[in-house]
Symmetry: C2
Subunit: 336 residues, 2 copies
DNA sequence: ATCAAATAGGTAACCGGTTACCTACGGGTA
DNA sequence: TACCCGTAGGTAACCGGTTACCTATTTGAT
């Protein structure tokens, strides 16, 4: 493969001159020399070696996307928006699938530090209570090594982040069901551990503020997949006093609940209202279509990327941006 | 950031020794020296510089995934399987979203050559007839620069690839509809241009081999999204002699057809049979659930990665692997 | 006692660029 | 004539590792 040395030799100039021409430096260069060098580079099918460039410059023009999965609309939409922004700015993204394992996150982060990525966009896994400590260690490790970070979906001190006010979204979801007259409202939470769950707190607060008493039997936790929604749906509906509405913290599980209701011959929305979280093509396609709390995913992805790029450009500083979720009314909820 | 020079100085040894210890070389090292070096590396929170390593070794342990989109179950499933295999082998993947633009593919490929990726997994865009020439140029450019390639979804000479026998799948889909007694069978093709479409040829062959005459009015082309399926569905169904069955070359468009039928109060499968291509969570969730020709996506992803890894390891050679699609019967087809 | 082999480590060129600093020359000006 | 400045280009250190080749000591066998 051709190098600037080859070009320099052929053109009878130094590598400095070649480098200047090839990088459009402001250093004055004779037009003839420039032309000769460009022609030779072209003839040799020269491709600059980014590795060598990175070693010399200390920048890799690479950022890493650390996300829990890509087989999921939610992350896919965010990731696509991110890749888009980053690519426009001349960066290429590493795809790092953490599979919701903090251990994998740590492994990846060490690898990424070694690779000297310029920045990291990170959706940290927070399933077990002790995960939070590891998250902080991972973030600290990145920061110590001078790597820019933007987190999303989580909240940490002293780093840029973009999140959605899930408390508000969950409060709105619950309030919406209450406003439709529901009093026994089931809740299917995600993986986040107990009291640290924003959505759970919002659900409870909304009930309390409406004077509805909170029944532990109506609160369950699932693993975010459809099957888990199905099983938890059956569990909630198969009780002595089943709920008339269920608030589910993600889409796939909400669809699982619809399937459970159908299986039990419970009509939605006539006999059961279901509200989901996140919007995706699924919630529009399913019948009845799902009423959901929508998170602005593309916006999250684009903003996360821009925060990172601003930081890398020296413009912009660390900031935390919180976006608002919104209620999307479709067919799966009705008055009691 | 600590370097091996720092460690060498502190330990009073040369960088060669540090490098040997840190890389588990077979060169003999005194246990005390080894221990001292490891301890110092740890104390300095040393992270090896992969950039420098790559420059010296000529390998980056990086491969690129060049795919048309990630906001699509099809590529997402393949990409997840790929990332998995590659990561197990110590590689990190670049996520390159080509957005079905050959120009972007070319841009990416030049960037990837500059970055000296070890390999590329590539799903080339083939929409316009002239795209094929560009594809070949791109592939040639990669090969000239010593970058391993695996293509999927397309067929080229002299490179490894994994594909699905879409002709067979389409033939099977059409034959299945014929076996249910259908004689007027609509066809909604994808972006691939006219006669180069395997699935179109298979559809026509299956009809001819059953003595059914081919009606151009029943063949249309869509842009792979749901809306396009909806519009094409309406178009086919709003004719003087509408089809009693429709074969659609992807999932989203098939779902669009279901919506169109519903909108026109045409019962599926009683009055209209619909068969899709690709399997995804959507086809299971939709009602009626879609009968489809399933492509083994995870398998494709895993095999593509393994072909590439084998090539990079020097084991294994260029080979073309064709996987078989299979019919998954669900609710959207019935006898005429 | 001699010498080959094993052990432990060092030297420095190399990977392919970037860039601070230096040289050389011609023209304009006081 | 002396000096300054702009133009054009070169020199070589540097980024952080790897590794072929070399040296020096110790061990074991003959």
């Amino acid at each position: 493969m051709a190098t600037i040395y080859d070009i320099a030799k052929i053109c009878n100039v130094s590598t400095a001159t070649v480098s200047r021409v090839l990088n459009g430096s402001t250093h004055p260069i004779h037009p003839d020399t420039r032309a000769k060098i460009l022609k030779t580079a072209n003839k040799l099918n020269y491709h600059p070696n980014s590795i060598a460039k990175s070693l010399a410059s200390g920048r890799t023009q690479t950022i890493a996307l650390l996300i829990p999965t890509i087989a999921n609309d939610y992350y896919t939409q965010i990731a696509e928006a991110m890749e888009n922004e980053l690519n426009d700015a001349g960066y290429i993204a590493y795809l790092c699938n953490t599979k919701r394992s903090v251990l994998r996150e740590t492994e990846y982060i060490n690898n990424l530090i070694a690779r000297r990525v310029d920045g990291v966009i990170f959706s940290p896994t927070r399933i077990k209570p002790e995960d939070n400590i590891k998250n902080l260690e991972n973030i600290e490790e990145l920061r110590e090594n001078g790597i820019a970070i933007v987190a999303f979906g989580s909240r940490f001190k002293d780093i840029s982040q973009v999140s959605v006010n899930t408390y508000k979204g969950a409060y709105e979801a619950t309030s919406y069901l209450i406003s439709l007259g529901h009093r026994r409202i089931g809740f299917i939470d995600g993986l986040t551990a107990g009291t640290r769950s924003n959505r759970r707190r919002a659900y409870i607060d909304a009930l309390k503020n409406s004077g509805i008493n909170v029944d532990d039997a109506l609160m369950v936790r699932g693993s975010l997949d459809m099957d888990s929604g199905y099983k938890n749906g059956l569990k909630l509906l198969n009780t002595a006093r089943p709920p008339t509405a269920i608030f589910v913290v993600n889409n796939l599980m909400a669809i699982g609940v619809l399937k459970a209701a159908k299986n039990m011959n419970i009509k939605v929305p006539e006999k059961l209202s279901v509200i989901g979280f996140d919007d995706s093509i699924l919630s529009r396609l399913i019948e009845p279509s799902l009423t959901v709390i929508r998170q602005p995913l593309e916006e999250m992805g684009a903003i996360a990327s821009r925060l990172l790029l601003d930081e890398l450009n020296g413009t912009g500083k660390i900031q935390s941006i919180e976006l608002e979720p919104s209620l999307v009314e479709r067919e799966s909820c009705s008055e009691v």
